[in-house]
């Protein structure tokens, strides 16, 4: 080493690798308005598609007359189920093993259902033509309540009538979809039956919607000359879309190119395959020109991808001193008109069986019944890994209810039931192997940070002051401790439509020492172009600034299952590290050759290989890259490239401890979030700035869901929350500042120890906000009240507890 060689720390800093708050490379484009989202793409001769939608939640379609629409100048085609039937595309398979109408086939089953697809020269003409399509309906009885649906004589899915076997086993009733059971029911019942203390509660996790700021859309372009179909769209899983498009259309997969351009937020909304995609493809094939379909906000909220809608009934038992002995959970799951839940095939209720949470519960049972109703299909994981949000809400509420039953502090109850650090890897009663954790440390750190005892004292004083009539404001302390399960997942038990849930990365090092890496995932704001380059920088010693990350084009990227369920870092991030290690292995051989020593005599050091014991003799990664292309090295192929397909051995289990302090005005129901502290442990931290941004965003979506956001229906199946006027999206005015904190417990099975973080704050945040509301009323006898806690419902709770009586 000579004076000109930068020292090691400087070389590490130059890489901008793991652990560095590297500024995002995406932002230069986005801040200048130069993003390229689906509706920004325009192809020559492009037509616009728009849907005729059902005003009824359940009706027979007697006739459809398209003459007047077709007669309008500028209208090119109007498609109905009859037109799609010869192609067998009037129905399509769903991700959950059911099928869904693309266009109404004889009847409609939810309000807003797609009835006909109009294709016209511009969006205005298309909208005019939609009005001109005459549809004659005959109304049918509407079922919006799953319990009623299970008793009703009304058959919703006539196409399935008489089928007693569904995709997930026997169907008990014509509106029943499946029963899914995990765990030991008899054993659990026996334990609960003999227990000292049992707490029971039924809770409804209301229907909501991911509502990314950019709605869904696509642009299909069939080139009849070369037989190639190009499909641009808001796809969280572009490769899966290509496979599905090939299976549905019969076009060979190599003749289909799917491109996800910039995506304006996904949160699960953009995982599914929607009728708009199918209709655009068919319309482009029929017309021979590109056809674009982009939904508007109302269509988005009413038809694509609801989340949650779980009725959860729980029983939890404990010893008198608070040691939990058993947990029983039954869910009635409202799946709407078609079972289009986006879950791995073998998990019809996603990972709901993580509902034992962060606690060492010796025996448990989960049963889930899926039910058809006259509501939109969907069931996506809204900023969530396959129903883990429901599971965590369930257990974190059950803990609070049990604390009431035991007359115990809920923080203490959690502490004495946490899985101990020494118990990892931990086998849960419902079949998961938790990889690593240190819950006690995280919990103690969180409680100390907020001065938990001080808060409880203040709260008690407030209650006294309230009782004396000195204040009309109560104080709630919301607690939650969550364990996530992300990174789906091992191919042996996780697949989507038969595709194993691995992911991939392909790296090419250029002769001058810069690189490009392509992945099977797709960013929707998570900053992959920034963070994956950091993983790679640390693995291969090339600065992150010299690495381009590309995703989303199936013609160039390796096959992958996409981005949702916080799987990008655990799966594609691992693939990136593994592909990087292959590069490094070859680089080692090249370096050894150049340095004229044996392969084993060189070692990797930040950005170079050095001769062991002689650090002044080295070859930098750029020198090695150059040599890979210009030297004949015996026994080594030219070039420096690698690809890795990573099948994760297990899920990863991030966790965290959250505390929310809230003031509630008893007379107006208005809440003020005074403080929110979030401690997250996502294992190795790749980019702290990006992690913190994810946490702020996830907590805000949690606030939305807990405090007001819902997709509500009336008895006739009309959607009552179809615009942003009624559907709550918090603004800067309603959102607090969050305090973030962390511990680091790396995943033992992940190549760099990272666990994923994007969804944790949502999963842990919802129960935390909800618990704060409920905790405020605990001294007045409240056990449980359902979300969303909007002002009116809080007022009603206060009123029901007699707090407005004078």
């Amino acid at each position: 080493m000579n004076d000109l060689t930068p020292d090691r720390d400087e070389r590490v800093a130059n890489l901008k690798g793991l652990g560095c708050s590297r500024k995002r490379v995406e932002d230069a484009r986005f801040t200048q308005g130069k993003g390229n989202y689906i509706d920004d793409i325009s192809l020559p001769g492009m037509l616009h598609g728009d849907f005729v939608r059902s005003p009824y939640a359940h009706a027979r379609v007697k006739s459809i007359n398209t003459d007047a629409a077709m007669a309008l100048d500028g209208v090119v085609a109007v498609l109905t189920a009859k037109d799609l039937e010869p192609l067998s595309l009037h129905w399509m398979p769903t991700l959950a093993g059911d099928k869904q109408m693309v266009l109404a086939d004889g009847k409609v089953l939810f309000q807003g259902q797609e009835v006909a697809f109009v294709v016209a020269r511009d969006r205005y003409i298309a909208a005019d033509a939609v009005e001109l399509v005459e549809v004659e309906y005959e109304e049918l009885p509407v079922l919006v309540d799953p319990f009623e649906a299970l008793k009703s004589d009304v058959v919703l899915r006539e196409d399935l009538d008489g089928q007693t076997e569904g995709a997930h086993g026997p169907r008990k009733h014509h509106n029943h979809i499946f029963t899914w059971e995990v765990g030991d029911e008899a054993g659990t019942n026996a334990v609960i039956g003999d227990a000292d203390v049992v707490a029971e509660e039924t809770m409804y996790y209301h229907r909501t919607h991911p509502c990314p700021l950019e709605p869904c859309g696509c642009l299909a372009s069939m080139d009849k000359v070369n037989g190639k179909l190009t499909l641009y769209g808001t796809f969280q899983a572009p490769h899966v879309v290509r496979t599905v498009a090939s299976l549905l259309s019969g076009i060979e997969e190599h003749n289909i190119r799917v491109v996800s351009p910039d995506i304006g937020g996904g949160f699960g909304n953009k995982v599914g395959v929607y009728p708009g995609y199918v209709c655009s493809i068919v319309a482009s094939i029929v017309t021979g020109v590109p056809v674009k379909w982009v939904e508007d906000r109302m269509e988005n909220l009413m038809t694509t991808a609801f989340a949650r809608d779980y009725w959860m009934k729980g029983r939890i038992s404990a010893t008198r001193d608070g040691k939990i002995t058993g947990l029983h959970c039954h869910v009635t799951a409202d799946h709407g008109a078609f079972d289009a839940c986006a879950d791995p095939t073998k998990f019809p209720a996603g990972f709901m069986n993580i509902c034992t949470g962060s606690y060492d519960i010796p025996i448990a049972y989960l049963g889930v019944d899926g039910v058809y109703t006259n509501k939109a299909p969907g069931g996506v994981s809204y900023r969530c890994s396959f129903r883990v949000t429901e599971a965590v809400y369930f257990i974190e509420r059950m803990i609070e209810v049990l604390a009431i039953e035991l007359n115990m502090d809920a923080a203490e109850l959690r502490r004495i039931n946490f899985i101990g650090k020494e118990q990892f890897p931990y086998q849960s009663a419902l079949g998961w192997e938790y990889d690593s954790g240190d819950y006690h440390t995280a919990w103690d750190k969180a409680l100390a940070a907020v001065d938990y005892d001080g808060l409880r004292k203040e709260q008690a004083e407030r209650v006294e002051a309230f009782k004396r009539g000195e204040t009309r404001t109560l104080m709630g302390i919301g607690l939650s401790f969550f364990t996530e399960i992300v990174g789906a997942g091992p191919v042996k038990n996780c697949d989507i439509l038969g595709m194993g849930m691995f992911d991939s990365c392909e790296i090419r090092i250029h002769p001058t020492g810069s690189a490009i890496a392509r992945l099977g995932t797709i960013s929707q704001g998570q900053g992959h172009a920034t963070t994956f380059a950091q993983i790679l920088a640390s693995e291969i010693g090339i600065p992150a600034d010299s690495i381009t990350i590309e995703e989303g084009d199936t013609d160039t990227a390796p096959y992958g299952l996409g981005t949702y369920g916080s799987r990008s870092t655990p799966v594609a991030g691992a693939a990136t590290a593994m592909a990087g290690r292959k590069i490094r292995a070859k680089a080692q051989m090249i370096a050894a050759y150049l340095l004229e020593v044996h392969d084993d005599d060189v070692e990797f050091d930040v950005d170079r290989f050095v001769v062991k014991g002689a650090p002044e003799r080295f070859k930098t990664m750029s020198e090695i890259a150059y040599a890979a292309y210009n030297q004949a090295i015996p026994g080594v192929e030219p070039g420096l490239e690698a690809v890795s397909y990573y099948d994760p051995p297990n899920m990863t289990y991030p966790f965290g401890a959250y505390v929310c302090v809230m003031d509630i005005d008893v007379d107006t129901g208005v809440t003020d979030i005074r403080r929110f502290y979030a401690l997250d442990d996502c294992g190795t931290r790749i980019n702290p700035m990006v992690i913190e941004g994810q946490i702020h965003g996830g907590l805000t979506e949690a606030l939305a869901v807990a405090m007001g956001q819902e997709i509500a229906y009336d008895d006739m199946g009309n959607v009552k929350t179809g615009t942003l006027m009624d559907f709550f999206l918090p603004t800067a005015w309603e959102v607090p500042n969050y305090e973030t904190d962390h511990t680091v417990t790396p995943s033992p099975h992940h190549p760099i120890g990272a666990k994923g973080v994007g969804e944790s704050p949502h999963v842990g945040g919802v129960p935390c906000f909800s618990n704060a509301v409920q905790d405020a009323f605990r001294p007045f006898g409240l056990r449980h009240t359902n979300m969303p806690h909007d002002h009116w419902r809080i007022w009603k709770t206060a009123n029901g507890l007699g707090l407005h009586d004078t």
Binding site: Q32, D262, G265, F267
Partner: protein
């Protein structure tokens, strides 16, 4: 439907478009003038993704007809800064991680730009209130607020230095 000519000054240039009376300004900006920075998130004036500046006011261009912009002076995100010299707000959003998916960002920055004209030295509360017409689904606003406050401080210290 008969079209009419609308002349407007967009980002400092005179532009002429032929539009139907019913065409919304946002689509004319995006599709005829190819200014795809402003986005569509709701078409009902709730989200602010389509925010542009018209005659010195922040306007949601999804709720205005293009014909109403006859003679107007319009600034879109494309009119702030350039690839060689980003606007202070653009730099600040980058620096403080004030964006994730980027879909709200053009509207956010355009609105923030006007806000700082109206109130060059806002408090955090004033920023939160002044930005409440613009929804972001990704960031939780904390870093957006930080970006705007930092930009304000920078603009103010630059103008103090100039005096």
């Amino acid at each position: 439907m008969t079209k009419q000519i609308v002349e407007m000054m967009v980002n400092g240039e005179t532009r002429e478009v032929m539009v139907e009376p019913r065409e919304l300004l946002i689509y004319v900006l995006r599709e005829q003038l190819r200014l795809t920075g402003p986005h569509v998130g709701c078409e009902t004036s709730h989200c602010g993704a389509c925010t542009v500046e018209i005659n010195g006011k922040s306007v949601k261009s999804c709720t205005m007809f293009a014909v109403q912009a006859q003679g107007a002076e319009i600034t879109t995100i494309e009119g702030l800064g350039s690839p060689d010299g980003l606007h202070v707000l653009q730099e600040s959003f980058k620096e403080h991680h004030g964006l994730q998916c980027g879909y709200c960002t053009p509207g956010m920055i355009t609105r923030a730009h006007r806000l700082l004209q109206e109130n060059p030295n806002p408090t955090e509360e004033e920023v939160r209130f002044g930005m409440a017409g613009n929804i972001c689904r990704c960031t939780g606003y904390q870093n957006i607020v930080k970006s705007i406050l930092a930009a304000a401080a920078e603009i103010n210290s630059a103008s103090e230095a100039a005096q």
